[in-house]
Symmetry: C2
Subunit: 844 residues, 2 copies
């Protein structure tokens, strides 16, 4: 069986010899507009040089002296001979108020204005370069009225988007870094924000969120006045909660000793620098002179912090090589220089430290093409909402144990699950920690239900079961499962037993492995040469030459090919097709044989169907024909074989619907969720079940209950996150991809818009290098033609993946499959851009 697996993803990446591409000169794609408003992500647009020590100056409030602090720092830098620039991205009250002008004057520099700011000044933009030895202070965007920028925009117009601001800042910093290259000492850039940390920017986005894409280290200017401890602490926490590094707090001592109190309140190690009381209007120069030592100290702290940051970033790969034991990793094959240093994450993007460029390296935003093992769900704004929810639950509950207790987040998550992926069938939720445990819980549930339904145990069967077990009067039969070959349910020993034999289940890995399944070969679906096509298992469902489909081969093509996805996924219509009949016959044959084998005592009865609906993710991104799964579920239901769906990967919008069973068109008895359940923040899983399943555990005896649990079962933080994540996905006001429609029966039904343009997918499928293409929900996968059996010995996928880096995409190959995965909330424009990048690289 030449099978690939999700886990080969991890294995494959090992041999990614990045070679010339990663180390050689970066190809800088020209920036330009792609698909309307969204730009192709290029390295330049998403890269920040670390050769400059850049700091954002934030204020705990307005009027706390941000500009004075900037000027003080710029003066100290000049005194030290440090090449320095100052940037005011957003200025209001311009040109009368010009923080850049103020700073330029105090630092003996020049003030320049960008095109946008020039309009407010009624002048032309000025200055384009940097002169060595001259501190340039620059205003980029500006409005005339002295008010919050979100207000001035609504009056004066000339709005700018968050992305434009970030892009302009990157550009400015990049040009400064280039001008400073080769200098004797580390250059310094100071970026002064507007208002307080959580003041809105021009678009209304909070500044601390608007600037998060850059995650510049922060210098917070605190408030020395009455009440200043509170506003400073709260401002610190708002910055801190958004993941900023806060290098130092600097504040005036107004005689209240706020700085002393704050030293105890803020995390230990936070540097606090004290300034004299803020000067009255017009006395700034004397004040700056008086504050010289304090600013020298602050500058020293900041510059040392930057050097230390670089040192730490450079050291992380060595530390990792020496101390980590990575999952799915052969450590002998990991090259030190290929260890990715992840400095943060911003929505769908990693923030990666790349040491190969710009001398001291860069921090690059790169699309996380594997959605961090298929977990990620949100854009930065929604992610922040999720974190706020999590923090409240942490502060309110921490953790509280679950049995016989109830807390609000657990109820919220439970209801969201039952009304979401459990809608119309599930009535109970059992929580655990990951997909593997969720599936193990699922099989425990299913087997009990089977024993009850099949009469091995009476429904009030505690006593009877006890007799059976303890008095040796009989045995409950060892059950096996019905499963599809190539499925994956996790790596705990029980979950492995549900999978067919492979290198992952051998005695090298899982010493006690026994294949517990009757494994069927599933028919798969994909776009091949421009058409949606089902590939039937050549040797029958059991791979033994029996249970074959369309044995005579006559009408295979017409029965397995469709022009559109809509036709291929129209289960209702396809249920009436000849293929449906063929499926049914073959499935019945296989099940009848299994029943006979059980009657003959050769093997145990089939006690559960355990299946990943729609897509085998880890098994190589193989779309299983949903019609086949539909008919298989029906056949099991008729035989009272409980149905467990492992929706860990497929469920919760990943494939376009809340429950992946919706695509198959049949409801399970038990279903497992994880990954997207928590929106991509923390581990948690849930096993949903019907009342009938629950009832099989309901009875007089304690021992009849489901005796399974984990310490953090239904932990409040996880539950609060899950409830919020599920509500965000399905909120049309939050999720731009959601399409809510009325079903024929008057209910409303929701699905994601098609994120991957079908005609483009067909174009890809016609390329000579391509064997098959699938686009389903958030998943785009392209299997490449390779010599021999493909599998993960192929280099083709790796090469494409490496070339995608030029487009700011950090993907991972899965055998000979290249796949890209977005979030359920990723704008479609982004998917279009990804598709274009892929087409470009596949065509090389």
């Amino acid at each position: 069986m030449a099978r690939t697996r999700a886990r080969s993803l991890a294995l494959d990446a090992l041999t990614l010899t990045l070679g010339t591409l990663a180390r050689g000169p970066r190809v800088r794609a020209r920036s330009g507009r792609v698909m309307g408003r969204t730009r192709a992500m290029t390295s330049e647009d998403a890269s920040s040089s670390l050769s400059v020590a850049a700091f954002a100056i934030w204020g705990a409030n307005t009027g706390v002296g941000k500009t004075l602090a900037s000027a003080g720092l710029a003066r100290a830098a000049r005194a030290r001979g440090t090449p320095t620039t100052y940037l005011k991205p957003v200025q209001t009250g311009f040109p009368e108020d010009s923080d850049a002008e103020f700073v330029a004057r105090r630092a003996g520099g020049v003030s320049t204005v960008g095109e946008h700011a020039a309009v407010a000044a009624g002048a032309r933009s000025s200055g384009a370069g940097f002169d060595a030895g001259v501190t340039r202070a620059h205003t980029e965007f500006a409005w005339r009225r002295a008010a919050g920028p979100h207000l001035t925009v609504s009056e004066e117009g000339r709005g700018v988007s968050d992305e434009e601001i970030v892009r302009a800042m990157r550009k400015y910093l990049r040009e400064f870094a280039e001008s400073a290259r080769g200098g004797a000492s580390r250059a310094l850039a100071l970026i002064e924000t507007a208002g307080g940390v959580a003041s809105p920017g021009p678009s209304g986005t909070l500044q601390c969120e608007l600037l998060r894409a850059l995650r510049l280290p922060a210098i917070l200017v605190g408030d020395g006045r009455l009440g200043g401890i509170s506003t400073t602490t709260a401002a610190f926490e708002s910055l801190h909660a958004r993941g900023y590094d806060i290098v130092a707090l600097v504040l005036a001592d107004d005689g209240l000793g706020n700085h002393k109190a704050l030293e105890n309140i803020l995390p230990s190690g936070t540097k606090v620098v004290v300034l004299p009381p803020l000067p009255p209007e017009g006395q700034a120069d004397a004040w700056l002179e008086k504050s010289k030592d304090a600013f020298t100290e602050l500058l020293k702290t900041a510059m040392e912090w930057h050097e230390n940051r670089l040192k730490v970033l450079r050291s992380l790969p060595d530390e990792a090589m020496e101390k980590f034991w990575w999952p799915f990793t052969q450590h002998s094959m990991v090259e030190r220089d290929n260890v990715a240093v992840i400095d943060g994450r911003y929505g769908d993007d990693f923030e990666i430290f790349d040491s190969s460029l710009d001398g001291d390296g860069t921090i690059d935003l790169r699309f996380d093409g594997a959605a961090s093992w298929w977990t990620q769900g949100f854009t930065p704004k929604l992610q922040q909402e999720l974190i706020r929810t999590a923090t409240n639950a942490a502060g309110r509950f921490g953790h509280v144990m679950f049995p016989e207790n109830v807390h609000q987040p657990a109820i919220d998550a439970t209801k969201a699950l039952l009304e979401g992926p459990g809608k119309g069938w599930a009535s109970r939720v059992f929580f655990s920690d990951n997909g593997s445990t969720a599936t193990e819980v699922g099989i425990k549930m299913a087997f009990r239900k089977f024993y009850v339904d099949a009469g091995f145990m009476s429904k009030d069967g505690h006593q009877r079961a006890k007799d059976l077990i303890t008095e040796g009067t009989g045995h409950l039969p060892q059950l096996r499962i019905l499963a599809l070959d190539g499925s994956y349910h996790g790596d705990t020993l029980g979950a492995l037993d549900m999978q067919s034999p492979s290198v992952f289940t051998g005695p090298m890995q899982t010493p006690w492995y026994q294949p517990r399944g009757l494994f069927l070969q599933p028919p798969s679906l994909a776009i091949r040469h421009g058409e949606w096509t089902v590939a039937l298992p050549a040797h029958g469902l059991l791979n033994d030459g029996e249970n074959r489909l369309f044995v005579d081969g006559k009408d295979v093509h017409s029965n397995t090919t469709w022009r559109t996805k809509a036709e291929a996924f129209n289960i209702d219509k396809r249920l009436k097709s000849p293929l449906a009949k063929e499926y049914r016959i073959a499935i019945d044959q296989a099940l009848e044989r299994a029943e006979k084998d059980a009657r003959d005592g050769k093997v145990g009865p089939v006690g559960a169907l355990v299946m990943e609906p729609v897509l085998h993710g880890a098994g190589g991104m193989i779309l299983i024909d949903p019609l086949f799964q539909n008919i298989l579920m029906k056949a099991c239901r008729e035989r009272k074989i409980p149905i467990v769906l492992d929706e860990v990967f497929a469920g919760i919008w990943r494939l376009g619907t809340e429950g992946a069973w919706e695509i198959v068109g049949e409801k399970p008895d038990i279903s497992c969720y994880a990954k997207l359940l928590t929106g991509g923040l923390v581990p948690m899983s849930a096993t949903l079940a019907t009342t009938d399943v629950f009832d099989a555990f309901y009875g007089p005896g304690k021992a009849q209950g489901l005796l399974h649990g984990h310490s953090y079962t239904a932990y409040p933080i996880g539950c609060a996150i899950s409830a919020k994540a599920l509500s965000l996905y399905r909120d049309p006001a939050k999720n731009p991809n959601l399409i809510v429609s009325k079903t024929s029966k008057g209910h409303s039904s929701a699905a994601l818009t098609e994120l991957w343009d079908e005609s483009k997918l067909k174009d890809i499928s016609d390329m000579s290098a391509v064997r098959r293409v699938i686009g389903q929900g958030c998943v785009l996968a392209v299997e490449l033609e390779v010599e021999g059996d493909g599998g993960y010995h192929s280099n083709a996928a790796r090469e494409v993946v490496l070339r995608l880096r030029r487009h700011g995409v950090q993907a991972r190959p899965l055998g000979n499959v290249v796949y890209l995965m977005c979030s359920p909330t990723t704008p479609k424009e982004k998917c279009d851009a990804l598709l274009s990048a892929l087409i470009e690289e596949l065509g090389r």
Copy 2:
């Protein structure tokens, strides 16, 4: 085998018929000082009535109009006929500044001062009761100087502790609730805080933390001025992050439209009420008149919020009964009224909604005697530090996948583990999600090492192993483990296979169970009748009459009894004792037989020792003689049997040392950590290993790597929390229980102080109802004498547990064992109080 199990904890609680005790009149213990500064926790001291709608009025800054808002609300309440009181717990600038006086005057009420405030006023305390129809406005603690209370205390003295403030507030609110009882309409209490949300209180503690014990719903007075969006948002977030419910935001409209911006920024559904611009000095009355409608609206919002809160709290048990599938629970035995509604957690205490008292019920702080399944680690202040760390990691990273990547929190957690429980032996850390997966990873590691060490696989054995597996030239032998009877490693199928047969492993629960161990009967240690005594397994290590210890019985007593714990745990000295020789002989005999059986082909070789060090927690709080475990580990090491310690329960300070192996005095090859690893917030686990173990997976083939992983492996939030938690436990400045001493070799070694007074433990062990007592680290356990075999059919433990509720302790029985578990950072005074309560109730 009459064995109890941690999981019987869950089972037992099922039959806790709370009956009269829970429902009848609460016994109100008199408050009083116990053991110096710490009070016994009584219901009154820790109970808040919900019959009054109480709200805390917070300010986004000073001078935003908190007192005006309080007065406006009090006036609106008077207009509506709502019985109202106002409380200013902390006032400075008194009596010239008296917010209570201001409010009393505007609401047509009376102003009173408490004893402490009276001193500042140079007057006598006034008023003790509440007159119907008169709004009382009260000042409790006050200082003369108009400044932050943390400053006035240092000048004027008369400091008050955080606990005193909270206690006085509870008392005031309780008396008000009593006065309002039976009234026609819901009473209202307004508590005005001092300064901003994060202003320090008298002790220096931030007010939002000082008042967290009450978790009063909050009305936040925002700032309508320039910069007010930022300060209001940040203040909101600081409150929100500490778990407060924020009922409404109210703020003046200074013409900047801050309220409109804030409606979009704050979580949707946050009520925002707009006021006119704040009045100049002396024009408050006119302003209040003008603001009447706004305050009526705000009052309505608040009162409706309270009613809704009650409705939700009352509905939660029904929702839980209907939708949850609790772990380890027989749902038929759960009584609706025994479902605990957990409204929050505060350090070691649950905040429990008790509907049985005070009409509308109360929120009670109750000590979480099971440490929420043994996870909890911190006092409120440290918990808040932990949450701050978690939030920063969430904002910076969210989640990023792990293989071949590195991020700072993963390095921090890894180093903290290697320098902590892994010190001196471990060199690699493998992360997973819970104790169960950590142990399954452990067994995978151990077996591979065994195969390599025993020559079944060459060290560069990828090829050879592959040959063995695929070409059928031979088989790797099925290995079994060496384990102690009664151990517990989790509920995944693989972890269950490591445990001896019981009701938890029967086919009702775990369909594919096979006992994979050679299970030894361990000698156990406890205080019995005033002496530390080892109980030897009566029928030998293998329970078959062979491998018995001190067969002739002559010197058993003198060899198995010590007067002090120090003697019983002095492994170095005891290694030279006759008992050590007996252990060694019996262990060798058992292992030699196992080797012979393997040679004879009856069973597979023993490939690993898997053991919980020191304490079988789930197995009934049984202290295993550490000398026995020491010798067992030595015997295994000599035979090249890899040693896996499951320290999920025992490790990370739970038993007094960072690694529980330190108590045993032998180092493992592999060890598993979870529970306390994250300080009790979120699930995460780690499996630590030596270089030798790691090397058994290091080789040329991908398939030779450890092919195991979970989606959220080493997730940044969990790693950041773990690193922080480990550093807090071991920081003497943070953890009052830590004793750092120099070892004989000049190294420093750290352990928790003895939290449970040994002489008291001995007293308990002499009580007639008591069979044995253990006190080890955070764990206190008392096994009761019961008729018959004990086990979990006994009612004695349940009765003691129920009686402990009077002392504000929410414990859970474990069979016939009563146990209490504190955190590694719980003050010893608290343990003393718990011990006293237990002695009182055991003596009844």
